[in-house]
Amino acid sequence: MNNIDILIVGAGGAGLSTAIEAKRAGLNVTVVSKTQITASQTCQAQGGINAVLDDTKDSIKEHIADTLKSAHGIGNEESIKYMCENAKESIEWLNKLAVPFSRDEQGNIAQRKLGGTKNKRACYSSDYTGLKILHTLFDTCLKEDIEFLEEYMLLDLIVERNTIKGIVALDICSGNIMQILAKKVVLATGGYAGIYTNYNTNSYATTGDGVASMNRVNGEISNMEYVQFHPTALKGSSILISESARGEGGYLVTKDGIRFIDELKPRDEVARAIYEKIQNGNEIYLDVRHLGYERILHLMPQEYNLTLQYTGLRMDEDLIPISPAAHYSMGGILTSKDGQTSINNLFAVGECSNNGVHGANRLGGNSLLEIIVFGRLVGQNINNKLDEITFEDKEYEIYKYHKEEYKSIMSYPNEINLYTVKEELGKILFEDVGLFREQKCLKQALNKVVQYKKDKYLMGLGDKGKLYNTNLKEFYELQNMIELSILVIQSALEREESRGAHYRIDYKNENSKYNKPTVMGAI
């Protein structure tokens, strides 16, 4: 596949926002997605999207200050400033695309309070904010006639002389390995919190494929140790219960009904406080009973239904048992504010990227904002010098490699079950590379994960067929997860301090020596 101006890998809010702006700038745009277009992680965002809409009640200055504070000194002030200053305009953009935001009594877009701020700043659509934004963006893409390649998995980036040429992908449906060339490529492949198998709130698809691909071409990646643990996932299933439950007035309590922390502190602090209690043998519960049935159903219908379905409990009558779970990756592909990566003509945007807007800890409501603001920014600027790029119609080495590699994978013996490894990996990471970390456990985890990497050749597939072989897809995903886990652990070992979501029990304080992002893979 050739002659694509802009190839966008990933169809969440970031990828689709980029696609819409690039298409509207007159470019030929193709979006590649591992899942069906509307099945990306964005659909699971519940709580809201931050913006200062009324400067008599809130201010951009405060939004910047709250975000910077939460970033704990390793955020990028330029990116944060740009995001906060362009938040209102992005909400207006979404509003004009027809995102059905909830309204207050005067007909203004309604806003709720989330953690890490004193102000009501998060615009929302009940607790289906991500779903409604994603589907509205998708509808817009259909109207704009944007090309989709659905169910194609990114295997590797094609890079020559530090310049992107395209990607190698697996067409999941046919089982064919494809070379897709483009003048510029945007990675919008999502985060890597899915490496914490069974201990995360993410989709099965969130396996950090883009970040792992970037690592394999020695592109710069950054802050990999920074994984956010959401304070309130349902105990056992790790189903997300949004921060909106606390934002609307919910409490965190012990079984005796005793509150033990300000529920609207930043997520890292709340999650650690909960986990500490749980490790000491307590059950911790979310209590929203005092809000009443009608208010709960109006403001958080999704959370109400999920809780009922997965626990059999009613939020209006029962205490809901919760536990923290991996939720979001602050780290990822290092980019400038404008999404430029360390590789020419390759951009990254959204959760797979790190342009410094979250630093050491992301605020609730800033992730949806990030994907829209920077997705649009990348799409608007991507036309720059596009005409100077020419295609070279040839089979690139990495494409040839993958065609051979495919044959090799099919010949690996099935001595180790990759699904068992995936589950073990999740458990190791949650226990040893989780909310509380220390050198001994991190090293122990690293040894085990490095062994998994070596065991690749024994994780042969039971499915040797070509057609819709998810066994093969999951093999590739697991290799990415293992690779990323090693990076997370190495970065966590390197940062001998505690800062934001990265907490070392052997180095409990911030150390100014580490007052900068962790960067790996510099060529």
């Binding site: 899942t35 069906q36 277009i37 509307t38 099945a39 990306s40 992680q41 659909c43 699971q44 509003n95 004009k96 695309l97 027809a98 059905p100 935001f101 909830s102 309204r103 207050d104 009594e105 007909g107 309604a110 659509s125 009940s126 289906y128 779903l131 409604k132 589907h135 509205t136 509808d139 817009t140 259909l142 109207k143 989709f148 659905e150 449906c173 989709s203 099965y204 698809a205 299933s237 189903i239 997300l240 999704q302 239904n305 999920l306 379905q309 099935n414 079950n417 699904y419 068992t420 597939l461 039971g462 499915d463 067929g465 057609l467 819709y468 072989n469 998810t470 066994n471």
Partner: protein, 231 residues
Amino acid sequence: MKLVVCSKEYEIEEKVDNLLSALNYIKSYHNNSLAYRSGCKSGICGSCAVLVNGTEKLSCKTVIVENDTVEPLRNSNIIKDLVVDISVQNKLLKKANAQLQSFQQDTILENDVQIIDKESNCILCNSCYSSCPVYEVNKEFIGPFALVRAYRYIDDKKEINKKNIIDHIQDNGVFSCTLCGNCNMVCPSLIDIKGDIMKLQNKSVQHGHQNPNMMSGFNDSLDFGFNPNGF
């Protein structure tokens, strides 16, 4: 516990009672080649709809019991096992012009948002498409999810060009529906699809369209074996 997936029996651990977990268990330990779609585990990504004992369900939201049978959705070509070809989805949505055509600035109150609240929660799981008897005989039918999405924009106060969408849902559209209500029964987002299509029929008439079935007389109308009017 015994579970029958695509006509093949599997023994599942007793503690696994969620269908998606059961499929994961089968894939991990019994049959690596079993193909099915899944994603969010929480009923919102729309990937995992299948037939359970003949009825459309999201795997991730289904509690299984002994001897349940699991099959792929109807009305689509099967790619493999529980995976069906849903590439027609985007074509139908485009055909229906189920997108905002022209934005207009207007005062929008919470009541206005509530009118399209359920409709804008459609997750495109294709359950309605699978349950629809009209598809069995007419693959050109725009169908429930695309009509719901058309309704979502037609009843959005931000849409000034409602007629454009209404005009696009006439050919094999609103009046081809038999109003059997199957789609309502299977929609995991609890959308009143039949009610929305009835409203779209009224709106179509208000915008100058006619019911082609009525024009040709009741006796000549297509007979799908069910007549909601009781004639």
